[in-house]
């Protein structure tokens, strides 16, 4: 199984998420993570969809099917090496009185994670990084009781020098034929 990151640029109208996910559902492709937000261009949304698949060919076909959605401006499929990418995670860690104190220095310096909220009996720690880095920290912090853990979807930017404006509106034809 290889991880693919699919970046979809769409018009920002109601129901586009449904139009895209139905294409994956029909082919029984599960979404590992998904983020959506508006891009630097007003009215243009960017979907970052992470999937795992054994067949590159199947992913290429998927990309072409997503391109057929009328509101979709461009679709790009990437391997991990093609992109700079990150996720953000939040951990709510129990810190009851008398428990072993957190090693804040290690958390900060080794794991580049930060306490963003203090409470008498728990703290909230924020950690940014790749999925692997987040789970390394997860393993480290696990001996303390994890009350809640949440990971965002991946955000990714292509390492290519081209910008979105270079791709739109017609350039994607060059890419997919």
């Amino acid at each position: 199984m290889t991880t693919y990151t699919i970046c979809v640029f769409t018009e920002n109208t109601i129901g586009i998420l449904n139009k895209i996910t139905t294409i994956l559902t029909r082919r029984r492709i599960n979404i590992d993570s998904l983020t959506v937000s508006e891009t630097e261009r007003k009215g243009i949304s960017r979907f970052t969809i992470v999937i795992r698949h054994e067949s590159r060919e199947a992913v290429e076909k998927l990309v072409r099917q997503i391109r057929k959605v009328i509101e979709v401006l461009a679709v790009f499929g990437y391997l991990n090496e093609d992109i700079a990418y990150n996720e953000i995670a939040m951990f709510k860690i129990s810190t009851p009185i008398g428990a072993k104190p957190l090693d804040i220095e290690t958390i900060n310096k080794t794991y580049k994670a930060w306490v963003v909220y203090w409470h008498l009996t728990y703290v909230i720690i924020q950690k940014t990084g790749t999925e692997e880095e987040i789970f390394e920290f997860f393993d480290y912090i696990k001996p303390h009781e994890i009350l809640e853990f949440v990971r965002s979807g991946r955000v990714a930017v292509s390492k290519s020098p081209q910008t979105l404006v270079d791709y739109l509106p017609e350039a994607e034809w060059e890419y997919y034929q």
């Binding site: 769409t10 018009e11 109601i14 129901g15 449904n18 139009k19 139905t22 029909r26 060919e57 290429e60 076909k61 072409r64 099917q65 391109r67 057929k68 009328i70 509101e71 979709v72 401006l73 739109l168 509106p169 017609e170 034809w173 997919y176 034929q177």
Partner: protein, 586 residues
């Protein structure tokens, strides 16, 4: 429930009169009709209901400009719109209400997307303040139709109507055609637009760029493969008819002398009389076309998509051949069969560009190989089918007699099953744009409504629907539409009292365990007469000629029921999962 519906309406009508618009500003419903007229729509297939009533109120004022055909079930509206679109190349239009009105369209929309048929469905929806409240006749039509439309959109503001309808027509018809659904809330139909109505046709969208002209380098690469081929084989599909590329296709096959075979939906694009025409492809296609698919060196596939009914077992399908794939939808390239030379573009443009680049050639010896297979097929299947010794009439002789009597020039609308395959096999199409059937979806019940849709689109042509006894009962109520509109379509029921194709499979692959395929049928002629349509039954071979003459001579709609052999099978056949070269003759 009805009470609530009426309440809602009354309140809104009191606030804002539906039909009494000021001279400058019109309401959403009038905008819908005026936009349709601006798009050149002359015929609407529809069925009224609560959430679309404001539009129906508006149509009342435009009856001199728009011909509304009242169907008997919304599925009929969808198939009629498909029949109209398939014969004219124009967009078929349906108008229905929310909830069940919209869900009844679903089969037709799914049929239209898989057979690339341009259609715009205008669907009423509950008022916008009721969306998501499980209001009377509220269904999430947008959600339901996402996977089966080329585009769908919900209008909640009357001002959006002209622009969205223009966009709908552009999307439905351009590129690879397909169905578009526009869901319009009742308040958007009722409210006055805030600006004067103006309709501007859509010609370009920021996010949608169907490519008409292929890239020159792709065409050059295709020409090179074609010119180098020793045993080239051309497949043409529905895309040729959609692009109106029949003339260019003829020029191409005549210059290159390449044998050409049709898909089911490509039938009639090349006349059966043409020396380069070698038959059709697929599960019940011809013997030679299927076997020689696995012996050619280059396949030139034009406007077709390598459907599994064409390819059989893909791992043993034309593995020796290089593929030139001319196709307007880039997602079809490499989807099923990897193309060595993809050409993305409109079939007509692609053929125009390709023609000067391909060499004049002679493939007589290669074409003669098809004839050897034809002789075997003729002896083993075709002749026994056409000149049977059985007591009962066979489907093939009905179709061939009809073909002779109409000189192969009628518009034939076939339903789905054995009679469909027999029609494809035995009707000798001699005029382009003459065959309409549900190919991709295989929708039983398609033909009756599609036939009157086609008749509306081609009033000067003879339109004959060929329907099985099972199919006929799926949309039988459309006899009412035909009777009321007086459209003189001719209907032939090939009645074997079986769901014949399923029975054939049960015989061949399920040890003749006939599981729920035998039908106790009504008296079809009495039913037709009840609707006001004349007809008669033919059960004897010696009556067949006169029966067909009588049907064709009628200037009114006419139903001819032919009692055929109960258990005949369609051959040749490539069983599911078999290789095309292993096509069975018995």
């Amino acid at each position: 429930m009805e009470f609530n519906e009426t309440q809602t309406q009354t309140t809104q009508i009191a606030d804002q009169p539906v039909s009494v618009a000021t001279p400058e500003l019109i309401n959403g419903s009038h905008a819908v009709i005026q936009s349709l007229i601006a798009e050149g729509v002359e015929t609407i297939f529809g069925y009224p209901g609560g959430a679309i009533m404001p539009v129906y109120d508006a149509i009342y004022d435009y009856q001199d400009q728009v011909n509304h055909i009242l169907v008997r079930h919304e599925q009929g509206a969808a198939h009629a719109a498909e029949g109209f679109a398939r014969i004219t190349g124009e967009v078929g239009v349906c108008l229905v209400t929310s909830g069940p009105g919209a869900t009844n369209l679903v089969t037709g929309i799914a049929d239209a997307i898989i057979d690339s048929t341009p259609m715009v469905c205008i669907v009423g929806q509950v008022a916008s303040h009721l969306l998501g409240t499980d209001a009377f006749q509220e269904t999430d039509v947008m959600g339901i139709t996402i996977p089966i439309t080329k585009w769908n959109y919900q209008i909640t503001n009357a001002d959006e109507i002209p622009e969205i309808i223009a966009k709908a027509f552009y999307i439905a018809k351009s590129g690879r055609p397909g169905p578009v659904l526009i869901d319009i809330t009742k308040d958007a139909q009722q409210k006055l637009m805030t600006k004067p109505f103006s309709h501007k046709k859509c010609e370009k969208l920021i996010s949608y760029h169907p490519r008409l002209s292929p890239k020159e380098e792709q065409v050059a690469a295709a020409a090179k493969l074609i010119n180098e081929a020793k045993r080239p084989f051309l497949f043409f599909g529905h895309g040729v008819q959609i692009a109106g590329a029949e003339k260019e296709l003829l020029q191409f096959i005549e210059k290159t002398d390449i044998p050409a075979a049709s898909t089911l939906l490509g039938l009639s694009s090349v006349s059966v009389d043409h020396p380069n025409y070698v038959g059709w492809l697929g599960m019940h296609g011809n013997y030679g076309t299927n076997v020689l698919t696995n012996q050619c060196d280059v396949i030139i596939a034009i406007g077709m998509r390598f459907d599994d009914r064409v390819t059989g077992d893909l791992s043993r399908y034309a593995t020796q051949a290089k593929i030139v794939h001319i196709e307007i939808d880039p997602a079809e390239i490499d989807k099923i069969k990897k193309a060595e030379a993809p050409v993305v573009g409109d079939a007509k443009r692609a053929l125009e560009m390709l023609l000067p680049l391909v060499n004049q050639n002679n493939h007589e010896a290669w074409r003669a190989e098809f004839k050897k297979f034809d002789a075997i097929e003729d002896e083993k299947i075709t002749q026994p089918e056409l000149a049977p010794t059985t007591e009962k009439i066979k489907m093939a002789e009905v179709i061939r007699t009809l073909s002779d009597k109409t000189k192969g020039e009628a518009v034939i609308v076939a339903d789905v099953g054995q009679h469909q395959m027999m029609t494809a096999r035995y009707y000798q199409f001699k005029k382009p744009n003459s065959f309409i059937t549900s190919g991709g979806l295989g929708t039983m019940g398609f033909a009756l409504p599609a036939s009157f849709g086609a008749k509306v689109g081609a009033p000067d042509r003879e339109v004959v629907a060929i329907i099985g006894d099972g199919c006929f009962q799926m949309t039988i109520q459309e006899l009412g539409t035909i009777a009321q509109s007086g459209l003189p379509v001719k209907i032939i029921i090939l009645n074997n009292n079986f769901l014949g194709m399923v029975r054939q499979w049960q015989q061949l692959f399920h040890q003749k365990r006939y599981s729920f395929v035998e039908l106790q049928n009504p008296d079809f002629i009495t039913i037709a007469k009840g609707f006001g349509i004349d007809g008669h039954t033919c059960g004897l071979r010696e009556d067949l000629n006169d029966s067909l003459d009588k049907m064709l001579a009628s200037d009114k709609p006419y139903l001819l029921e032919v009692l055929v052999e109960k258990e005949e099978n369609v051959f040749p056949m490539v069983p599911t999962g078999a290789c095309v070269a292993d096509i069975r003759l018995e």
